[in-house]
Structure formats: structure tokens, C-alpha cells
């Protein structure tokens, strides 16, 4: 019996040990989470992650060790003693309830500012791009470069006019070191715009037009992919984010694209609200 107790205690002890060691090893070999390239938003999320990691980590190890300790110090089957006859302890109950409540309230309220910043308060700036997801690709619309104003045209995110925008498939270009604002929507089923290294994710829902903002500190090419089941091709809905060195380079890129496309002359402005529909729809019939 004693041997059994030792055996089971050790078995349960392996839980916190393996739990901590495997995380540590992964961290050691940069295999815990993808490098963060987002300075403005991603860093705050990572910080929260660390905070929660520490709190839950301590509770994980603490409670598991407590469990193992209780197992280890339990009475032996062959001893004459009966088990303790206790039904509970009001002080302890209140104590741990209050402690847990304090910690949880801290966790809950500590992160509200970050959430507000990353999802609630939309930055006041013109949209940089408009993404339409569909099975199984990402169509990214950018505003054309306006030579006269020396700035990109204003992007109408509701119905990006064909004459004022151009489109790339599966390639999102953004400038580095600043907040980027894009709008995502979907044409068929729900998809999700996910850039792991920038800690950003947002479902693209048909019928909704959802703003997303994020930033990248370092130029380079980064993976982005679909994180919401959208049919058998879900796994191949991958694309890349190209981060340009600076705003200037990004604009240079826009200008090049515009020139390449030789923007067609804009149509006369008769009815301001009118935009040509791409094709006639006879749906419903």
C-alpha cells in the first residue's frame, strides 16, 4: 500500500513537472510563440499574456503540488487511525474565495484598456486597404495613387469603386511602424483574418464590414491565414503580409502599381452616389 501511494504520488507529480518543463523547453528553442513584430498593439497583448501566464502558472503549480502533497501525507490504509473528521472550514472557504476573487477582478480589469485599444477605439485615419475574403482567397483592394494630391485616393470601404482602386490577391502590403487600418468582409462564408506575428485576428463575415487595425515594427514578409472553418479548402487559404520599410516606401509602391495599371479616366460625376455595379444581378429569380 505504501508503495502504491508513492507510485501514485509520483505519477501525479509528473503533471506539474512536465507541464512546466515542456513550456520551458519550448521557450528555450523559440517554439512557444511566434516572434512578435507588433510594437504598438502586439506588445501589450504579449504583456497581458505574460501576466496571465504567471498568475495561472503559479496556481497551476501550486494547486497540483497541494494535491500531490495531500496524497503523499494521507493516512496509510493499514494504520489504525480513522481519517480526519472535518466537514469544512468557513475561514478557509472565505479566504480562498476572497483571494481568488481579488486576483480574478485584477485580471479582468487590468486588460480592459488593452482591449479598448485593440478592438474598440478605432483609430481616426483613412482606411489603407479593403479585404474581401472568399473561398479560398483574399482579395485586397488598395486605393490608387493620386498624382495631383500626392496621396492615395480616399478608399470607399463600402463599395470600393473599380476606377479608384486596384486589387491584389493574397498579398497585403502595409507600411511599417504605424497603425494600419483595414476593413474586412466576406463574400460567401465566414473566414478569419489572422496574422500570428502581429497578434491580430478578425472574422470576416458576409454582410458585415469590420475594421481591423494593427501594426508591424519590422519590414519583411509575414504569413497570414484563415482561422475560421470555411470548407474543405480552409487550410490552403494562406497569404502573406508584405511590410514596407516606411510610409514613404509604401507610397512609392502604391505609385508604381498605379502607373502600371494606367488608371482609366474617372467617369463623369453626375450622380454622386452612383457607382457602377460590376455586373447585373438577376438574383431572386
Amino acid at each position: 500500500m505504501r508503495l502504491q501511494k508513492l507510485l501514485w504520488t509520483l505519477l501525479f507529480l509528473s503533471v506539474p513537472i512536465f507541464g512546466v518543463v515542456s513550456f520551458w523547453v519550448c521557450d528555450r528553442y523559440q517554439a512557444l510563440w511566434p516572434a512578435n513584430v507588433s510594437e504598438i498593439y502586439g506588445r501589450k497583448i504579449d504583456h497581458l499574456f505574460d501576466v496571465i501566464m504567471w498568475i495561472t502558472g503559479i496556481f497551476f503549480v501550486g494547486t497540483e503540488l497541494l494535491l500531490v502533497y495531500a496524497m503523499f501525507t494521507s493516512k496509510d490504509q493499514d494504520s489504525q487511525e480513522k481519517a480526519d473528521f472535518v466537514h469544512g472550514n468557513r475561514t478557509m472557504e472565505i479566504g480562498w474565495t476572497l483571494m481568488a476573487a481579488a486576483i480574478l477582478i485584477f485580471v479582468a480589469f487590468y486588460q480592459i484598456p488593452t482591449w479598448t485599444e485593440v478592438k474598440v477605439q478605432k483609430p481616426k485615419k483613412p482606411a489603407d486597404a479593403h479585404i474581401t475574403a472568399s473561398m479560398w482567397m483574399w482579395q485586397v483592394r488598395y486605393p490608387l495613387w493620386d498624382e495631383k494630391a500626392q496621396a492615395p485616393r480616399k478608399l470607399d470601404v463600402v463599395q470600393p469603386a473599380l476606377s479608384e482602386t486596384f486589387e491584389l490577391v493574397n498579398e497585403l502590403h502595409i507600411p511599417a511602424k504605424e497603425t494600419v487600418l483595414i476593413y474586412v468582409t466576406s463574400r460567401d462564408v465566414i473566414h478569419s483574418f489572422y496574422v500570428p506575428k502581429m497578434r491580430v485576428k478578425q472574422d470576416a463575415v458576409p454582410g458585415l464590414l469590420i475594421p481591423v487595425w494593427f501594426d508591424a515594427a519590422r519590414p519583411g514578409n509575414y504569413e497570414f491565414y484563415c482561422a475560421e472553418l470555411c470548407g474543405p479548402g480552409h487550410y490552403m487559404m494562406r497569404a502573406r503580409v508584405v511590410v514596407h520599410e516606411s510610409r514613404k516606401e509604401y507610397e512609392q509602391w502604391l505609385r508604381e502599381q498605379t502607373e502600371r495599371l494606367r488608371a482609366p479616366t474617372p467617369p463623369p460625376q453626375v450622380a454622386a452616389s452612383s457607382t457602377p455595379t460590376e455586373s447585373l444581378s438577376l438574383a431572386g429569380k
Binding site: P267, P268, V270, A271, S273, S274, T275, P276, T277, L280, S281, L282, A283, G284, K285
Partner: protein
Amino acid sequence: MAALEHALHGEEPRAMGLPLPNSKLAMWLFLATEIMFFSGLIGAYIVQRFGAPHWPRPEEMHLVVALGAFNTFVLICSSVTVVLALKALHEEKTQQAAMFLLATFLLGGVFMVVKAIEYTDKWRHHLLPGQVIESVPALVQEALAERRQVAQQQKKKPEEDAVFVALDRFYRYNIGNARLQPAQALKWYNDVRNAFPQAGLPDITRGEEVAETVGRLVQTRRAELKEKRTAHDPLLEELEALSLAAHGIPMSRRQQAVHYHYLSEQKYREAHLPELRLYGNTWSSFYFTLTGIHALHVLGGMVIFAVLLVFYLLGRLGPDKAIWVENAGLYWHFVDIVWIFLFPLLYLIG
């Protein structure tokens, strides 16, 4: 030993449970689940109703308030007859109770018949989910086909029909992107000019000028209307359509809807063009699901009452079955309450 028990717990352990028969308790629990069910359903409807950018009015969808109100009345009557049946049973007047149950059953039947009439009406007007036409192009196509048929019957060419001509233009140049030839543009312009003689539209001789002149006219007209604080008038509608067509710009979906509305409701009112009911399919999805599920509940209640009536015929209805009648009644009243909410939501507020 017994004395000890008393010392410890005061008294002998007593029976447990609520002073409610099992069946009545279960009926109330079932009603609780039903409340959640209809909260979900009606909640979904409310969310959709107030979340949609547009929602058809009840009368657009051929809902007759009188019929709905009558059905409300019928259900209220049937609720009364159920409680009266229960009362009669408690007073051991079995025959009277049976009569009241029969009345309830029949009132339920009346409700279903009225529902059937309403459903048939929807069916005849093509208002079933998936049948309401919400796209202007499709509607115009349908209207064109209709006019063509009418003309054929009258042994005329469709082109002699003013309605046909207007719709045809609308379809070709405003919805589709056919090129408007100068001659046609001029003819169109003159039609508009003749239709609004007192508007003082300028004379144009060359078709090529139409685009530019009308463009200007639209702008001035808009400005005028803005001063009068209205957004639209028939003249502007006509001019705008022509202007867009002359510039070769198809209308946006919204413009199409507005223009079709103008044509069917104002200009050619008596021609009875097919109506445009935006969000009509979603409306009828909800209408049929809400009322259909409610009607199924009514049907279920009628089955219960039929069973009770069979009991009466077998001579097995008596005061001991009062709990059956009471539970059936609870269910029936709940169904009534659901209708009490559905009626204003669909027929009045809708």
C-alpha cells in the same frame, strides 16, 4: 432510540416534495422550457426586425389586421372555455365540462381555419419564403412580360404602350448598360418634356446635347428641391434616370429600387405593376416560422382536447380527471399568451 431521534432532529423525517402533483409540476417545467423556446424565437425576430435596414409593412405583405384580431378573440374565448370546463369538473358537472371542452376544441379549429385562409392568401400572392422577388431587374422583367402579354391580347404592338416603353427604357439603359443612341435620347427627353409641360424645360434639337443639358438640369432641380427641403419629386426622378442613361452609368441598386418605386407607385399606379418588397423573403421566413410553430402548438392542444373528449364518450371523464384538464388548460393558456405577443408584433408593429 426514538427519543434520541427527537433529541437530535426534533422530529421524525417527513415526506419531501412540493404540494404540487407530479404532472402539474412537470407541466410548469415544460412551460418554462417553452418560455425559453419562444424567447429565442421572438428574440430572433425582434433582432432581425429592428436590425434590418428595411422591413416590409404588414399591409404590404397582405396581412389583414381584422383576421389577426379575430383570431386573438377566438383564442381568448377558447381560454375562457377551458377554465370554465375545469370549474364545471370541479363542481362535478361532467356533461357541462365536456361541452366546454368541445367548445375549446372547436374554437381551436376555427383558429386553424383562419390560419389556413391567411396562409392560402400568402401563397396566392407568392409571399412564401424564397418566392418574394426582391430584385428590381427581375421585377421589371416580369412586368415587361406582363405588358407584352396584355398588348398581344389587345392585338397591339407592345411599343405602343407607354408603360412598356418606360419600363423597357428603364431595363435597357438604367439597369443594363446598353448604349443610349442620340436619337433615342432625344425622344426620351421630349417625352419627359411633354409629361411636365409647366416645368419649362428647354428645347433641345440634337441628341448629343442631351447628356450635358440634362446633367445640368438635374443639378439645378436638386438645388431647388433642397431649398424646399424635399429630396425627390417626379421630375427629378425622370431627369435623373435619363441623365444616368445618357452618360452610360447604370443605376446602383438603391437607385433602381427608388426609381422602380416611383414608376410603380406614382407614375403608373393603375397599371398594377408587381410590387417591390425589399426584405420580403426574410419577413416571410419569420412570419411562417413564428406563426407556423404557434399553429403546431395549437394543433397539439387540439389533440389533447380530442383525447379528453374521447374519454368523455367512454364515460371516463370525471372529477378525478380534473388534473388532466388543468394541465391541458395551462398549456392552452400558454399558447394563448404566445399569440397575445405574436399578434401585435406581426400584425400591428410589424
